[in-house]
Symmetry: C2
Subunit: 464 residues, 2 copies
């Protein structure tokens, strides 16, 4: 049953219908649960045997949504943590961790987060076997993964099967509106954050009804133990660590997105918000027509995507987008809108800058000091007085002004020049651009339909 | 002899040479003085006779630079003031004033300042015969002209023949650099202000050497009786009225202009600053070439100059220039530079707006409220959600944004429309534009060489 309060009758019925349908679709079947449970038990036994064989003082704990019963039907992640004593040197933890991991997952391979771990596929489940320290409390952690078992313990004690249903519905809602995930591409709501919010409000409907009236910054502190002030739009003090905001990575835009779609859902309950249809991509002609209708000057930089993980790639791309945008604006090119697109199939990344105009006057206004500031003023006047390429210096109010030749009159020239590499860029993006890139201007951008067609579709039919 | 202090030897000599030459050119000859003196005496006698004929309690006083001996050779203004007792009704003052004026100047005609007066030509002199009240002190005045006799009395007591020479040199300097005159076209230094400054500094050279290091606001209070605070770049408390700033009309630009050219003169003494050569007007081809080299989008409104005095015309033109400029900027057209030109021969006025670009995108960004402000946010979203002419609404941070059709994409269309008359315009300019105007675009502006060729020359070869 879904928890919810009083609601206007016709809508309540419909909302109830919608949420019931969502819940049915996202609740794992008994058979799926059984298969997951069996797989997890087998893996745990293997890990315990590997620990015992080595005479180590370690234990095994299953964490994450599959441990808490809050996973969505079809999600197939099993997370096993091997917990070592805190006095074990980090080097040994890594050696033993990988050793046990490879024994649990004989076909697995090594990956690297804060320290290395083993990832593998078992019976169709995607398994992570991660070493961590068995610290006394979440405030004593030595690396971020040490915190995870505490989160699982905290939520396990507070989420019964009813509330687990609400958690699944809320997560599906966040996925549907594109706000689920604390990765640095999405900057949305993590699983742990979603579950804490449902627990805090006692269900998904009270949560959604509260969210529509949030006035960020919004703060929750389930254990009433927070001591630190955070400058984030959403603050949820970690029940296992008073100094941590669980929602630190969640952007203001995703908080607003939740509010917007929660209002939509309550006003007009619809399954499509949970399971949105993949939008129909615009054809090349449609993209050309919609771009042309805007009468802007779009410019796109296309280059090979650097081979780094998304959590490194996206911050570097965002930094580069902002850096080039401020380079353009610094030369007086007004950026009307900008966006970035990554096509994984073709390893193509595109940074798009839509300018109000790509051409500027040949001269730029350059304000000098007030005439009264004698040394500066005289220096300025003498620097330009005999320069035939300039108009002026003349007076505007109490200052000298000169109109001098503009460094860049065409944004295309600027983006084709080495000056592009002087702005703030992510390090691997700077390498990629230094290596090679293609500049597409106006209609040429339509050629990108082959790679980032869906991205251009979303750019030209923007939604909240 | 010109008063001046210690100065670097080579320059002192040269500066001295220059100032001596200037002084020789601007000092009226004995013959000119005699002719003026004779004319003034004749006119004064006529006025006294007219007063006696009517049995009036009035006296006659000569005011202005010709009364004080500070006029520049060739200036031929004689100002006669007829002073009536303060208890005379204003209506009678006007009647008697005009009556006497016409008797003094039989070929004169009536003009109107704060009240009517008679203006006429006598022996090549330009004579004003102005009625005013004989008040006890300048703080009791009933109209601005009542103050003038006090100014003349104050200066007469303080300017000997030596200092009069310095006054003439300083006035000629201000004329040469275009900063002389308190009319509302110039907004420069009045004669009275110039004389007070020379008296205050004890000569023209100490004045110029002080001016180069001014840090506006600069304040002088010769009588040490000021009580009011003024928000002007130059403040000279009127010795005859503690509540009045003699320099109130002097613009920051003209103060800066004095500072700039004073530095030029001291660094490189040259007669040309006092008697600048009329600049050679640019030819149509030169104007075309210089305009084109800027790669801007110039637009000009040309219309018939309203038939009003300059002190009404220029403030109205300045208001109109600023109003249209803010109309353009309000529609996102960046005004690179603007200026106004009046050709008296052809009664043509031109307002010139040089834009960075005259074309803008078909869409404009329109920011909505933060999503959290529920009523406004919902209203905004609903207003645009189903509008196919718009892109969005979408989210940017915590706000809705929509890209909607822009009202004006071409500045030419805007300036040709009735929207032009909705901005802040001087009343007679609004009438003139409402009546008829011509819009000239880009190269068409070169056609204006016939009327405002000198104005365009100065615009395209701007000087301090």
């Amino acid at each position: 049953m879904l928890s919810h309060g009083v609601f206007q009758f016709r809508c309540m019925t419909t909302l109830d219908d919608v949420l019931t349908t969502v819940s049915e679709r996202v609740t794992p079947t008994a058979e799926e649960r059984q298969r997951l449970s069996t797989a997890a038990a087998t893996l745990t036994d293997r890990a315990r045997a590997a620990i015992d064989d080595r005479g180590l003082d370690a234990d095994v704990i299953q964490v994450g949504s599959t441990a808490r019963g809050t996973w969505l039907a079809g999600d197939r992640d099993i997370d096993l943590f091997i917990r070592f004593p805190p006095d074990l040197p980090r080097e040994d933890l890594e050696t033993y961790g990988l050793d046990i991991g490879h024994e649990v997952l004989p076909d697995g391979h090594q990956e690297y987060a804060e320290h290395p771990y083993v990832k593998g596929d078992v019976d169709g489940f995607d398994v992570d076997c991660v070493p961590c320290y068995r610290v006394e409390s979440a405030t004593d952690i030595r690396s971020a993964v040490d915190r995870t078992p505490f989160h699982t313990q905290y939520l396990e004690a507070r989420i019964d099967e009813d509330l687990a249903g609400d958690v699944r519905v809320f997560k599906r809602f966040l996925k549907g509106i594109g706000a689920y995930g604390s990765d640095l591409k999405t900057r949305g709501f993590s699983g742990y954050l979603s579950e804490l919010l449902v627990v805090e409000h006692g269900g998904v409907i009270p949560l959604l009804k509260a969210a529509v009236d949030w006035h960020p910054p919004v703060e929750f502190d389930p254990e009433g133990h927070g001591t630190t002030t955070f400058d984030d739009p959403l603050v949820v003090i970690d029940p296992t660590d008073p100094d941590r905001n669980v929602a630190a990575v969640c952007s203001a835009e995703n908080v607003a997105r939740l509010q917007h779609y929660a209002r939509e859902l309550l006003a007009n309950p619809q399954l499509g918000l949970f399971f949105p249809a993949e939008p129909e991509p615009l054809s090349a002609d449609e993209i050309r027509e919609r771009l042309a209708r805007r009468e802007t000057a779009p410019l796109a930089l296309a280059f090979e995507t650097p081979d780094i993980v998304d959590d490194q790639l996206y911050p570097q791309l965002q930094k580069s987008l902002a850096g080039i945008e401020s380079g353009l604006e610094g030369h007086d090119f007004d950026v009307f809108r900008s966006d970035l697109f990554v096509d994984e199939d073709s390893d193509t990344t595109v940074l798009l800058f839509e300018l109000s105009t790509a051409q500027l006057p040949a001269v730029e206004r350059h304000e000098g000091p007030p005439v009264a500031v004698r040394d500066h003023a005289t220096g300025f006047f003498e620097a330009y007085a005999d320069d035939d390429s300039c108009f002026g210096p003349f007076l505007d109010g109490d200052r000298y002004v000169v109109e001098r030749p503009r460094e860049w009159t065409d944004a295309t020239d600027y983006l084709e020049s080495d000056a592009l590499l002087e702005v703030g860029l992510g390090v691997r993006i700077e390498e990629a651009l230094g290596d090679d890139y293609e500049l597409l201007v106006d209609e040429e951008i339509v050629e990108l339909v082959e790679t980032i067609g869906m991205g251009l579709t979303e750019y030209l039919t923007p939604q909240p």
